[in-house]
């Protein structure tokens, strides 16, 4: 009996380890990360934001590249409505040279990113969020500095071809939040490049 109990505790502990990262409804902690313009950016800098579209993305991953134009469009559409995009590169540039801070600056310029593109230098932020790949979206709502996780997952349902998209998960979720409703779909599974970390 005792053995079973101990085993049960072990399983619970193992599950706890697995369930790292934010779940829907969790409060998200603010962060301070370096932007491609050299400035430090925090969520708290956006006093008037109703929320944020936090997207873990990067330079090297073809899925992330396939979504670049769509991310720019989403930012343009929702920034004015109070939901700016905050892009974060979580990869260790020692493992992927093309994801270095210098190359982030180059890519942001090339594509004309309309949103901050931050470097998760210590790789603490992606771990806290529980991001596992790029691109990986976390939509947060903002109630006077209290950030609640409202949606986790993919941008839409076609990574290959924007013109073939039939479900716009991120836009639908933000549209709902703008009407003070909860998103109908709060989580989806996104295909992506595993985040590169040494430990």
């Amino acid at each position: 009996m005792k053995k079973i109990l101990i085993l049960g505790l072990f399983i619970l502990a193992a599950m706890g380890i697995q369930a790292q990262g934010y779940q829907i409804g969790d409060e998200a902690k603010d962060f301070k990360l370096k932007n491609v313009d050299g400035k430090q950016i925090s969520l708290a800098d956006y006093k008037d934001a109703k929320g944020f579209i936090v997207i873990f993305t990067c330079n090297h991953c073809p899925y992330a590249v396939a979504y670049e134009d769509r991310i720019i469009e989403i930012d343009k559409k929702y920034k004015e409505k109070g939901f700016p995009v905050i892009a974060i590169n979580p990869n260790d540039p020692e493992l992927y040279e093309s994801d270095s801070f210098d190359n982030m600056i180059v890519r942001a310029k090339e594509k004309g990113f309309t949103f901050p593109y931050l470097m998760d230098e210590t790789q603490e932020v992606f771990k806290r969020f529980g991001a596992t790949k790029t691109p990986h979206v976390f939509i947060l709502s903002n109630k006077s500095g209290e950030y609640t996780v409202e949606y986790i997952g993919a941008i839409d349902n076609n990574y290959k071809d924007a013109s073939q998209v039939t479900s716009r998960y991120v836009e639908d979720a933000v549209d709902a939040l703008l009407q003070n409703k909860k998103p109908e779909i709060t989580s989806t599974k996104a295909i992506g490049c595993g985040i590169k970390t040494k430990g």
């Binding site: 090297h60 993919a154 290959k160 599974k189 490049c193």
Partner: protein, 164 residues
């Protein structure tokens, strides 16, 4: 004249040997692919989800190739499911595999509605590449990260040694 004929013969022979060696890569949507995740025979299947641009995926490819070689007579089947996309994917893939000397079976999964199928590959997989599913009938072991040769061997042997 005779010499030219022989040369032609030789050339066609070389071409035919080459075409036998290079495998034809088939492209599937998820519904077409799904049966390979659920065979109910006494073979252990090692199904790896990867892409050419994915560094850890490419790093672990030789491990899968070694498994294929080391288990040829042991009812183990390796299938590499490529998620590559873009122009001339099949040709690029065939060239890449030849260069890396990978002779395991490769299929292309071309199904951009990923949320619809990621969970059907493995409940615990959230879509980050690479990922590997090792199964025999209904027993399944899933790795949602880069895998080593030893981990592959341990998992395969565990499934193979189970009573049927």
């Amino acid at each position: 004249m005779k010499f030219r004929y022989q040369l032609l013969l030789l050339a066609s022979l070389i071409v035919s040997i080459k075409s036998v060696r290079a495998q034809e890569i088939k492209s599937h949507n998820f519904n077409e692919l799904e049966p390979i995740l659920h065979y109910q025979n006494d073979t252990t299947y090692v199904i790896n989800f990867w892409a050419m641009w994915c560094k850890p995926c490419v790093e672990e490819l030789p491990e899968f190739e070694d498994i294929r070689k080391d288990y040829t007579d042991k009812k183990v089947k390796v299938i590499l499911v490529s998620l590559d996309f873009g122009k001339n994917t099949e040709d690029r893939l065939a060239g890449f595999l030849k260069k890396k000397n990978i002779n395991a079976e490769v299929v292309l999964l071309d199904d951009p509605d990923a949320d619809n199928w990621i969970g059907k590959v493995a409940k615990d997989w959230d879509g980050a590449l690479p990922a590997t599913l090792i199964y025999k009938k209904d027993e399944r072991i899933v790795f949602t990260r880069q895998i080593s040769y030893d981990e592959l061997v341990r998992s395969i042997d565990k499934l193979n040694n189970q009573a049927n």
